[in-house]
Amino acid sequence: MTASEIIFWFLSVLALFSAIMVLISRNPVHSVLWLIVVFFAISGHYILLNAQFLAIVNLIVYAGAIMVLFLFVIMLMNLNTETEPQRNTWLKVIGVISGGLLLTVMVSAARSAGELSNKTALIGAGDIGLIQNLGKVLFNQYVVPFEITSVLFLSAMVGAVVIGKKD
């Protein structure tokens, strides 16, 4: 086994274990912490794929920003095991259905990805994640979607104000 394979398996096990811990932790703050570990593991995978920029942005934006927002919301609503409301049966049924649908999609995606399985040599050889190329592609080929994302930000902000500013 090469060093990269060892690291790959270590990161995969870490990511899966942490993801399971996110689900089974009783305390929502612990779930957030485990989710941060998941993001770190995924960043490690990005580095293995030679996508350093994605790896770092994953840390800055997901682990550093969005998880802080999650923590704030959890602290804001003061979710505790004691104050947790009783889940009703309908919620469970809906959860099972949507989870099942997601599983179907994942399984079919995994099956269609089977033809890619002998292309694992991509590890460390791709250059799409390298920063220079990313910038060129974004600002030439995808400049319109890029501008549209800022409209998305605008609407997100207005929504946040509507929720947050009710006195």
Binding site: N27, G64, V68, I131
Partner: protein, 318 residues
């Protein structure tokens, strides 16, 4: 470079950093005393320098208390996060030509990512303590740090534009003709202000403001867990000083009669002393003043800096 050289660099950097982090206890107390017309610690050893050893030993033998009302594991992890994230940031800093732990080509972003991870130490420390003062400190600290993190990242963009790289050795090399603080004065000022807010040092020590929050987010911490927050703060000062020296003041560059690392550490110490002088001389703003100052003044300023730098550079290039 051989494997052993890398290993020596890793161990050497950590050794130097931990000694600086601890030694700053003494430096800060002596300098504060100097600026306040008093003596400061002068009993233990020459000039009182052994106070560092005494303080460290004392912290180790203090009660290592985990409050029964606290969230035990989160309470223990929080101080570890601050030390780990600050120490990891030093990985990308070139101390001298060739003396760098890992010269990542996303170096600058790595530094920003690690400082965004540092926020968790305060939020989690304050939340896990289950103490009202700690919680208030955590909230203030988190909103202060996340706000100033954005300004910090954006203030460095002018330098990145001129260098065309996130790699810190490239940034230093690009300053051979002229240090960047001449071309990017606004960037420097905003970076340094954001750096003070990120390390929550006086005058921006609002998360731990002792006259209103007792000790803020680490009110319930004792022993070496408190010591780790403490060392994390000093290492944070060192980090921001080293980054300022590297990005805006030419890092190891300087006249040839002294080796590169001497220049680097001289510049870094100058900024550390400036941090301490700020503590000795400035009063603390209110929380709302700090936040409004950030969003209403620094953010428009930093965006204008990015736009104007870009336009001027493109215009000069023709």
């Amino acid at each position: 470079m051989t494997v052993m050289q890398h290993v020596w660099i890793v161990l050497g950097v950590l050794f130097v950093l931990l000694n600086i982090g601890a030694g700053l206890i003494w430096v800060e107390r002596r300098m504060l005393a100097l600026w306040q017309d008093r003596l400061g610690p002068n009993r233990a050893g020459p000039l009182g320098i052994l106070i560092v050893l005494a303080d460290t030993l004392k912290l180790f033998f203090k009660e290592d208390w985990v409050p029964p009302f606290a969230d035990k594991w989160v309470f223990i992890i929080a101080p570890a996060i601050v030390v780990a994230s600050v120490l990891m940031s030093f990985v990308v800093i070139p101390f001298a030509p060739g003396i760098v732990v890992a010269d990542l080509n996303v170096g600058l972003l790595f530094f920003l990512a690690m400082s965004s991870i540092g926020v968790y130490s305060i939020v989690l420390g304050g939340w896990a303590s289950n103490n009202k003062y700690a919680l208030l400190g955590a909230l203030r600290g988190a909103s202060q740090m996340i706000a100033y993190e954005v300004f910090m990242g954006l203030s460095l963009m002018g330098v990145v534009m001129m260098t065309g790289s996130f790699k810190l050795t490239d940034i230093v090399e690009a300053q051979r003709d002229m240090w960047f603080f001449i071309k990017q004065p606004i960037g420097l000022v905003i970076f340094f202000i954001a750096g003070i807010a990120e390390t929550h040092r006086l005058p921006f020590d609002i998360p731990e403001a002792e006259s209103e929050l007792i000790a803020g987010y680490h009110a319930e911490y004792s022993g070496m867990k408190f010591g780790m927050f403490f060392i994390g703060e000093y290492l944070g000062i060192t980090l921001i000083s080293a980054m300022t020296a590297t990005i805006f003041f030419g890092g190891w560059l300087g006249p040839e009669f002294l080796p590169g690392w001497v220049w680097f550490f001289t510049k870094t110490f100058a900024f550390i002393l400036f941090f301490i002088l700020l503590r000795a001389s400035l009063p603390r703003p209110r929380y709302d003043q700090l936040m409004e100052y950030g969003w209403k003044i620094l953010l428009p300023l930093v965006l204008a800096n990015v736009m104007i730098t870009g336009a001027v550079l493109l215009w000069l290039k023709g």
